[in-house]
Amino acid sequence: MAERTTFRLRVRFGKLGRLRHLSHLEVMRALERSIRRADLPYAVTQGFSPHMKAAFGPALPVGTAGLREYYDLWLRELVPAPEALARLAAATPPGMAPGAARYVPEKAPSLSAALTIARYEVGVGPAVGPEMLVRAVEDVLAESELTVKAKGKTKVFDLASVLPEEPRVESSGSGSTVVLTTRMGATGSLRPEALVGRALECAGLPHAITTVTRTDLLMETEGGFMRP
């Protein structure tokens, strides 16, 4: 069979509420099912075990929520984007509801390659006061490297390169929030709770992290950061 023309639809979605406890694999499978329920004319890969042609942005770990996550879906027929969005919305659990859909050029770089910048908010409970938190974060940032041990592996991050923007602490009603931007590199990506956790640990403060939310995923261009 000759390759047929396909249309590449980029969908923005969330991973919210209880669903933050899902794994990346679980999220992908659930979204593929919602696409089938929406009865969109999805393209199918060629080969021995054909499957839906879709590609997802960088994975979110179990426990981390996401406000602006993305996937690309290839369609066999052009369905007007607003209609595709409405059909997806009607077929997706509220915690993963799609927020926007638009067509992107077939040649656009893949989401996983393009989205190298992530913004996070790490919630810290009232057990740690905002001033203490500010100082703790500053102390960690004073070092040039951060060593993270996870699952038996040790990774060393060069803070200047993984943190393209200065993290800041905001105080909210019931505690405070560390707002930070990370750059995903070839050596992997720094988990924001690892940085905040280390800050709390070094300052002898309780591990009071309550929530981790990825608020944005961005592409890095010469002119700065851009949404996909």
Binding site: G17, L19, L22, E26, R29, R33, R36, R37, D39, M52
Partner: protein, 623 residues
């Protein structure tokens, strides 16, 4: 209330494996906060196993259609979550509205096999419900069980308030209606139980006593304690599957559950008459759904769930009289969608392979599975497995010729009358299968050729012609395994065993009586839970529990029973008469086979007459 409870549960999730087990909020959940009568549907194992259970899905669908009734799911939390819940004093609750089980009107438990018994106790304990029926008070829910184990409920009867025997679609509605009427009238718990025992197919253990207190374990009749209670509880069965609407919008899990796919039932029952098979005896007669209904439900279920695979399930799907038509229609409708159809089991003939070819299309060929069960014709005649060596070898030739490269064969060790030569016969048969497979495989592909051989220990089950037979003792199993190992081809075979320790326990629990409640409780108290999980199972702990209860599990599993003695499940009827079972037993001894009554005329098991049923083929009664 719901939010309060979630606020207590959510912090526990950060520290446990696979939190997706505890989230709810899947596509297709039914949340009915205003219902006045709440039913918890429990599967006594983890979420990923329970979500594959069709009975739970069916009852969930049916009960949530009833005004004022809510049915919600509950599974047994894994050990890490159970410990966290105990430490935080969070009671076991349903997923949908986080209702503590002890505040539900009814807790309905499916009992798929004996190895879930300790999980039932774990569930009750986590819920704060007294373990034994006699210790429960007016405010406790009624705990009702159903499923395959209901056909001998005695071992676990002390922990249950009632047992529903047979198919639940109609009975569960009658049962809930009867209970609501009693509650409305201000009745007591005793009134509720009495009302349940009036529903056909419902057994209320506290209304029955053992006829002979001194009876041997595993022997002795159970009789009603008073004249108002039925002497015999007869299974429920639907006359025609076309009369109930199967669930086409079931809950779609996030987690990678066992059998993660859409399921459509194509027929119920199986009348091939294998003498070791409990399902084949107790779910008689065969009732097929019509091809139109099946095709419609497949398409509706796929649309509603978004699954990419649908399984056509039953005890013997390729025996459906219209299966070829169904598969052809489905492959046309599903063209180009990357959605696949699967068949759980295949019959051993070319037709079976052709059906597998139809569902595989041009795509991936998953392995094929066949169950000759025994290695010699003599023994296959004893067990009434009506396939010959030629059938099997012809099927293998066909399958490898059609491009399959993997097959798996199922056998049983310790079938009644088995000799060492029968065991070597398995080896001889596998040799021949391997030869035929090689001959029908292109030379360059022969290197990686493997035949899977899976061997289980035969466990005699209640309500079968072999219910009086002894099970092999463990040392004897080991001796026979050695013989089999030596008889197997050295190369090209992957031999695997179903753990004989587990089969031994299954055997001891399957044919016991009410005296086993003490053993089960002691086992659970000593830490037995999730016994169906290989790494959790501990035979020594179970043996200690038997010993401290003063019951010999070897005698229970491995001594032959006298057909003249009463059995602990004699008061439960599957419709198949004891007379028929005895006759089948005699025919087994004589090596005489019995035909399939769905196609070759009634063989007199009495299920149809006693239950007012008939064989239904292609959705229409044979008449």
């Amino acid at each position: 209330m719901r939010d309060d409870m979630w606020a207590r549960v959510e912090p526990l999730l950060d520290g446990v494996e696979r939190p997706a087990r505890y989230l709810d909020s899947e596509w297709g959940v039914r949340v009915r906060p205003d219902a006045s009568y709440r039913v918890a549907l429990v599967y006594p194992d983890t979420y990923e196993l329970g979500m594959a259970n069709q009975a739970v899905a069916i009852l969930y669908d049916i009960l949530n259609e009833v005004d004022g009734v809510a049915a919600e799911r509950c599974f047994v939390p894994w050990k890490d979550m159970a410990a966290a819940m105990r430490a935080a004093d969070v009671p076991l609750h349903t997923l949908e509205t986080l209702q503590p089980l002890r505040d539900c009107a009814l807790v309905g438990v499916t009992l798929p096999h004996e190895l879930t018994y300790t999980n039932v106790l774990e569930m009750l304990d986590l819920a704060g419900i007294p373990l034994r029926s006699v210790d429960r008070g007016e405010d406790d829910p009624l705990v009702i069980a159903g499923g395959p184990c209901a056909f001998n409920p005695e071992p676990i009867a002390s922990f249950l308030d009632a047992v529903l025997v047979g198919e639940g679609e109609e009975a569960v509605l009658e049962l809930v209606e009867a209970d609501r009427a009693v509650i409305e009238a201000g009745g007591t718990r005793a009134d509720r139980l009495r009302a349940l025992s009036g529903v056909p197919g419902v057994y209320v253990p506290t209304l029955y006593v053992s006829a002979d207190g001194s009876a041997q374990p595993g022997c002795g009749a159970v009789v009603p304690a008073d004249a108002a209670t039925p002497r015999m509880v007869t299974k429920r069965a639907l006359k025609d599957l076309g009369s109930v609407r199967p669930p086409t919008c079931p809950v779609v899990p996030y987690m990678d559950v066992v059998h993660d796919r859409a399921v459509v039932e194509v027929l119920r029952g199986c009348t091939r008459g294998c003498r070791f098979c409990q399902a084949g005896m107790v779910y008689r007669p065969v009732r097929e759904r019509g091809a139109d209904d099946i095709v419609h439900d497949v398409m509706a279920t796929l649309r509603c769930t978004g699954h990419d695979e649908v399984s056509l399930v039953s005890l013997s799907t390729t025996d459906h009289s219209q299966i070829e038509e169904v598969l052809r229609r489905l492959s046309r409708s599903l063209e180009g969608r990357a959605v696949s159809v699967s068949l759980p089991s295949l019959r051993v003939d070319s037709f079976g392979v052709e059906m597998a070819r139809l569902v595989a299309g041009g795509g991936k060929k998953a392995g094929l599975t066949f169950a000759p069960e025994a290695g010699t014709q003599r023994l296959r005649d004893v067990i009434n497995k009506n396939i010959t060596e030629e059938d099997l070898l012809g099927t293998i030739e066909h399958a490898f010729g059609a491009g399959w490269r993997r097959v798996k064969l199922y056998f049983m060790l310790g079938l009644p009358s088995e000799t060492d030569d029968d065991i070597r016969g398995i080896g001889r048969l596998v040799h021949k299968v391997l030869d035929v497979a090689r001959e029908n495989t292109p030379k360059d592909q022969r290197g990686g050729l493997k035949i899977g051989v899976s061997v289980a220990t035969f466990v005699p089950k209640p309500h079968t012609p072999f219910q009086w037979e002894p099970q092999l003792t463990l040392p004897e199993v080991r001796r026979r395994q050695e013989i089999l190992r030596e008889a197997m081809p050295r190369r090209g075979v992957d031999l695997s065993w179903h753990d004989p320790d587990v089969s031994f326990l299954e055997g001891a629990l399957a044919r016991g009586g009410r005296e086993l409640s003490d053993v089960i409780e002691k086992a659970w108290r000593s830490g037995c839970v999730f016994d169906a999980w290989t790494e959790e199972f501990s035979l020594p702990r179970w043996l200690a529990a038997f010993e401290s209860a003063g019951i010999d599990p070897v005698a229970l599993a491995s001594s032959e029973r006298d057909p003249a003695d009463a059995l602990p499940w004699d008061h439960i009827s599957s419709g198949v008469s004891k007379r028929y079972l005895l006759r089948e037993r005699e025919r087994a001894v004589a090596g005489v086979t019995t035909r399939d009554c769905s196609f070759d005329g009634c063989t007199g098991c009495d299920a149809c007459g006693d239950l007012g049923l008939d064989i239904v083929l292609g959705g229409a009664s044979r008449g």
